[in-house]
């Protein structure tokens, strides 16, 4: 292991300290729980939006604490859910009397801890609801899609749910629109090099030099199969065809596109992927609302990428194009 760290057991704390030191006007950490919150209160009482999960996914989760996105993120150890008590403290902190919505990914640890936190908050009369992203088509067949894990599709859920809360929607309206966005989001990824969890110091999986893992998970979980490395166009074609077939996406649909690097793949390669994605979407006459290319949800230093497509209706399109402003995700209001 060759990492720029001091002590493997405090990696998450030290990185968080550095993040807050970089953006002291935007965010702060609660004194008694590892929860990052917005420093400035929203200008009006709105539904609070909280996310959270394991660390190692920078800029997720902390990078999405900001205007038009999430109000808080509970930060677990590397790849492990944050404890329920922290999430509960975050919910209490951001509740402005309108309730709090939890937007997180479909992992058993996260579900257990978020649900325990929800129970604790509800005992104090705080209205809490949740939407759970499950966008990774590689992780379970379509007939058991409720078992699918979340990958980069979480970013779209935060964007839509966060913008909905910023518009002043109530908790039920936010749940409806964010659930619809989740339901219409599909992701598929590929890994070419493993990541190393600092506490273990070992690669999370093994691949031969000329091998790739199709359907890799965000924590290095094995995917569907190992294959020989192919050209970017061929791999992109395989991933995108499976995504298009799964929803299915059809002619004249409008989609948002997210090409996400997993940590060690150069942006140059991500753009090569996007070139092919654009060509295929044109072939099927599918319209692009907006394209995001970059590192939105990584897996430490894993190499690889994922493609995420969301079919949008007018309301979801408006919320995706709405203003967002966090240290790691800035977007002008593109509806104007």
């Amino acid at each position: 292991m060759k990492k720029f760290i001091n002590d493997p057991t405090v990696v998450v704390d030290e990185a968080l300290e550095g993040y807050v030191a970089a953006y002291p006007d935007s965010v702060e950490v609660l004194s008694d729980a590892r929860v990052l919150v917005r420093k400035k209160d929203p200008s009006f009482a709105k539904v609070g939006v909280i996310t959270g999960g394991g660390s190692g996914h920078k800029p997720a989760f902390l990078g999405y604490v900001g205007e038009g996105l999430c109000d808080a993120a509970a930060i677990g150890e590397i790849f492990a859910a944050p404890p329920a008590v922290w999430i509960y403290k975050g919910i209490k902190k951001i509740n402005m009397g309108k309730g709090v919505i939890c937007l997180y990914g479909n992992f058993s640890g996260d579900i257990m801890n978020f649900r325990m936190a929800k129970t604790l908050a509800e005992m104090e009369g705080i209205e809490v609801d949740e939407v759970i992203a499950k966008d990774d088509i590689a992780s379970s067949p379509k007939d058991t899609m409720e078992n699918r894990r979340a990958v980069a599709g979480e970013v779209i859920m935060w964007k839509v749910g966060g913008a909905a809360a910023a518009e002043g929607m109530n908790i039920k309206q936010i749940k409806d629109v964010a659930s619809r966005a989740v339901f219409n989001t599909r992701s598929f990824g590929v890994g070419s090099f493993p990541c190393i969890i600092p506490a273990t110091g070992k690669p999370s999986f093994k691949l031969e030099d000329d091998e790739i893992e199709i359907g890799i998970g965000h924590h290095g979980e094995p995917g569907i199969k190992k294959e020989k490395l192919k050209s970017a166009d061929e791999i992109t074609g395989v991933l995108l065809d499976a995504i298009l077939e799964d929803l299915p996406f059809k002619n004249n649909d409008t989609v948002s596109v997210l090409i996400n690097g997993l940590g060690a793949t150069p942006f140059q390669e991500l753009y090569i992927v996007n070139r092919k994605v654009t060509e295929i979407l044109q072939k099927y006459k599918i319209n692009k609302l907006i394209t995001y290319v970059g590192e939105y949800f990584t897996s430490l230093e894993m190499a690889g990428f994922s493609i995420t497509l969301t079919k949008v209706d007018d309301e979801i399109a408006r919320l995706i194009l709405a203003k967002a402003d966090s240290p790691m995700f800035k977007q002008f209001d593109l509806n104007k």
Binding site: G76, A81, A84, A199
Partner: protein, 212 residues
């Protein structure tokens, strides 16, 4: 056999040591079909449990379990925080006020823990989880204590627990992170089933040491 509060505390401390000793093994198992953090998180949790138990002067065995459970619940997170943490707290509540344990109390301990784990995680036998170790243990132990003393009953139940743990190797996972692997989860021991076995085995070793 009656286990005193002081002995019970030692049993818990020994479990912490057993987890620490097996951290690499657990990490390797988890990396095969999970994300490889089980060992490290369990080690971190049980180290803290050890610190807090050593700092506590309580003579109440139930209280000791609650202290241990709360450490996992409040500070560890992951799936193991709520599963083991919630289970320990539930067992602690069931045994609160007890400064010594007979064989029925030990049944109560593991049965409460199992109940909490099953209701929170929703797993049944055959789902490739810690339930595959714990449920056969509780069932066998409950039967065995009708005629046997604590150590003999525990030994018998531990054999069932081991069988249960080993059975996870050939099961296709249906729950938790590895469930998405379907066929590929076959051939690997479940890490939760394994850590549960390590805990039971350590408990048994401590009992036999007490007897000598």
């Amino acid at each position: 056999m009656i286990i005193s509060a002081a002995d019970f505390k030692n049993i818990l401390l020994n479990i912490s040591d057993a987890i620490e000793k097996n951290v690499n093994y657990l990490t390797e198992l988890d990396a095969e079909i999970g994300d490889g953090d089980h060992g490290a998180n369990m080690e971190k949790g049980f180290k803290k449990i050890k610190q807090q138990l050593l700092a506590s002067e309580t003579q109440d065995g139930g209280e000791m379990l609650i202290i241990a459970g709360k450490v996992l619940l409040n500070e560890i997170g992951g799936a193991m925080g709520p599963l083991y943490g919630g289970g320990l707290v539930k067992a602690g509540v069931a045994l609160k006020g007890k400064s010594s344990f007979n064989k029925n109390d030990i049944l109560n301990l593991f049965a409460s823990m199992l109940e909490s784990i099953k209701s929170l995680g929703g797993a049944k036998i055959g789902d490739k989880t810690m339930v595959d170790t714990l449920e056969p243990f509780v069932t066998e132990y409950g039967k065995a204590i009708v005629e046997l003393e604590l150590p003999e009953a525990f030994e018998k139940a531990l054999i069932s627990a081991k069988k249960g743990m080993l059975s996870t190797k050939d099961i296709i996972s249906r729950i938790g992170r590895s469930s998405r692997l379907l066929e590929r989860s076959k051939g690997h021991l479940d890490v939760g089933a394994t850590s549960s076995y390590i805990i039971l085995e350590s408990f048994y070793k401590s009992i036999t040491l007490l007897l000598n």
